[in-house]
């Protein structure tokens, strides 16, 4: 019961934070003078035209009323109209969001099992050469910019070997086609996420391996592999789930770079294009979707640790 209360408080806190984020995003994109009318009509128009358009767009209202309108629209799935091509933002975002979800889901499908495998094996053979090499590689990979991995990948596999295409389209017609389109972006995205996730998985396992019941099992002569897989893994499941969710949230930064490099028609590419054209309603909506997804993953990570940590139950 106490734990349920804790989770409920965490969810409420998350919602409050999301509300503050929406204020930051809205205020940030509205703080400068010169509003949407200028973007639509250009600088040299009659004051009457500007006033008419301002009224039509609701820009003559005070800021807090515009915020509330925007928030209500956002919640009801209508985050306004694009300033550039006058299409509803929701209509622009829909297919792009699906594409981005496909890309990130594929990445997760590659990264999570791989990270668990590396994390668990390095924990079993800790201190071995394999472990140390994996550790230094992981530390380094986290610091590598995505565009280096992507350019090296393109030069190697698309330009030199011609195995895959340098552009990614979200089509999965056949298996080979899907492989062609998604190999490079998914691999690029996977590297850093896998590295960090594997490190945290390993750390979580080692945390459990230091406890006295493991010492007991070790003294009874249980072999390292069985020790980790049978005895430690179950108790490390919570922290590992936490690590997985937390690191998936870091995908959201990488996906922006990767979609642009491979011209992948996803939400992040849409957001970057919208920033270039200063299409504020679109920028706002994309930003809110990113923040909400990010917070959802962090929330899941937190709930995983609450559920798995008996000490948190009494606090």
């Amino acid at each position: 019961m106490l734990m349920l209360g804790l989770i409920a408080r965490r969810v409420l806190g998350g919602l409050l934070t999301l509300l503050i984020v929406s204020v930051i995003v809205f205020a940030g994109t509205n703080i400068l003078p010169g509003d949407a009318t200028e973007a639509i009509l250009g600088q040299s128009t009659s004051p009457e035209a500007v006033a008419g358009l301002r009224k039509a767009l609701g820009l003559d209202l005070p800021a807090h009323e515009r915020y509330l309108r925007w928030l209500a629209g956002l919640l009801s799935g209508d985050p306004g109209v694009s300033l550039i091509n006058r299409l509803p933002v929701a209509q622009l975002i829909g297919p792009r969001l699906a594409n981005s979800l496909l890309l990130t889901a594929l990445t997760a499908a590659v990264a999570v099992p791989l990270a668990l495998l590396i994390g668990i094996t390095t924990a079993i053979w800790r201190g071995s050469l394999y472990d140390r090499v994996a550790n230094v590689t992981a530390v380094s990979l986290v610091a590598v910019p995505e565009f280096l991995l992507a350019t090296v990948g393109v030069i190697l596999f698309a330009v030199q070997l011609r195995w895959v295409s340098a552009m990614a389209t979200p089509s999965v017609g056949s298996f080979t086609q899907a492989l062609q389109n998604f190999t490079l972006p998914v691999l690029t995205l996977s590297f850093a996420v896998t590295a960090q996730m594997a490190r945290m998985t390993r750390a979580a396992l080692l945390g459990v391996l230091d406890s006295s019941y493991i010492e007991m099992a070790r003294l009874k002569g249980v072999r390292p592999a069985r020790l980790v897989l049978h005895h430690a893994l179950r108790n490390a499941a919570g922290p590992i789930a936490n690590a997985v969710a937390l690191n998936l949230s870091s995908l959201l930064g990488g996906v922006i770079i990767v979609e642009v490099i491979f011209s992948y028609p996803g939400l992040a590419k849409l957001a970057v294009d919208a920033v270039e054209t200063r299409d504020m309603p679109l920028v706002q909506a994309c930003a809110m979707i990113f923040c909400a997804t990010f917070m959802l993953l962090v929330l899941v990570a937190d709930i995983c640790s609450i559920l798995s940590n008996p000490r948190l139950r009494t606090r």
Partner: protein, 280 residues
């Protein structure tokens, strides 16, 4: 860090060699940022006579870029932006974070709750997305980029500094200082802050790496440093078509960023002893 004593001496010597190498590396990067333009064989805008996307040669060690400019010189000029701008932004972020973190830890109460809630909100915006929103609103200029990166990384620094300060604030020697009747300013300045320095330095290094990646990522998207100036991320972007000729112009700046960030990350990893505790 209880296992430090258990490490045999040859191991420790190897670690300190790694530290020395790391420190030398950081000095080298700083020097590159400070003196890069003076070392450059050509000026950043000079077009040399060997065509575009030239391969590596003795005269042009990193080839030429998409306009036929010497890549080595472009890189040396860009160091100032990549290393320098990120450094300024990180210093601002950490100073802000440390000040607010200590304030939170010492004042507690509603100051702490308000600051904590604000940090929660800011940290919930992915850094690159925050950067996009800021650039969409304010355009892109050096002050905007620096302030954006600084604000984006204040919450992380704040949380780190706050946790540290809370720990130290609860220690006996702080209690003693308060009992002596010292003022809060004295306690913060003389008792709390000096004990935070080492962990704060490693945190600073890590945050610097993130800021470098953020700013070069933004430049790569074409929304960071604007032409004719170019940091290393912008160099990758402007030469991206060279990818089809496997030109050094597109790879070298990206590798330069990776070398900068990886060397600092490994250095921090050695300093904080995290890899060692993880290995053992």
């Amino acid at each position: 860090m209880s296992d430090t004593a258990a490490i045999s001496s040859p191991r420790r010597r190897r670690l300190s060699a790694a530290r020395q190498a790391g420190i030398a590396l950081v000095v080298a990067w700083a020097a590159l940022a400070a003196f890069g333009p003076y070392l450059a064989p050509y000026r950043a805008g000079d077009v040399v006579n060997v065509g575009v996307f030239a391969p590596m040669s003795a005269a042009h060690p990193f080839g030429t870029d998409y306009l036929g400019r010497d890549m080595l010189s472009r890189l040396l000029y860009g160091a100032r932006y990549t290393v320098g701008v990120a450094m300024v932004a990180t210093v601002l972020a950490c100073m802000g974070g440390i000040a607010l973190g200590i304030l939170s830890a010492v004042r507690k109460g509603w100051t702490d709750s308000v600051l904590g809630r604000a940090a929660d909100a800011l940290i919930s915006i992915p850094h690159l997305m925050f950067a996009l929103v800021v650039v969409a609103a304010f355009g892109t200029s050096l002050p905007v980029l620096i302030l954006m990166a600084a604000i984006s990384y204040v919450p992380g620094s704040y949380r780190f500094a706050r946790a540290l300060a809370l720990d130290i604030n609860a220690m006996d020697f702080v209690e003693v200082a308060r009992a002596r009747g010292e003022k809060t300013a004295y306690v913060v300045w003389e008792e709390i802050l000096p004990n935070m320095i080492v962990p704060l330095l490693t945190d600073f290094g890590l945050r610097f790496v993130f800021v470098v990646l953020l700013l070069s990522g933004l430049s790569f998207l074409g929304l960071g440093i604007q032409p004719p100036n170019a940091d290393w991320g912008a160099l990758v972007r402007e030469n991206i078509t060279g990818i089809y000729e496997a030109a050094p112009a597109v790879l070298v700046p990206a590798i330069a960023i990776a070398m900068l960030t990886i060397s600092i990350t490994l250095l921090i990893d050695g300093f904080s002893g995290r890899s060692r505790t993880m290995v053992r």
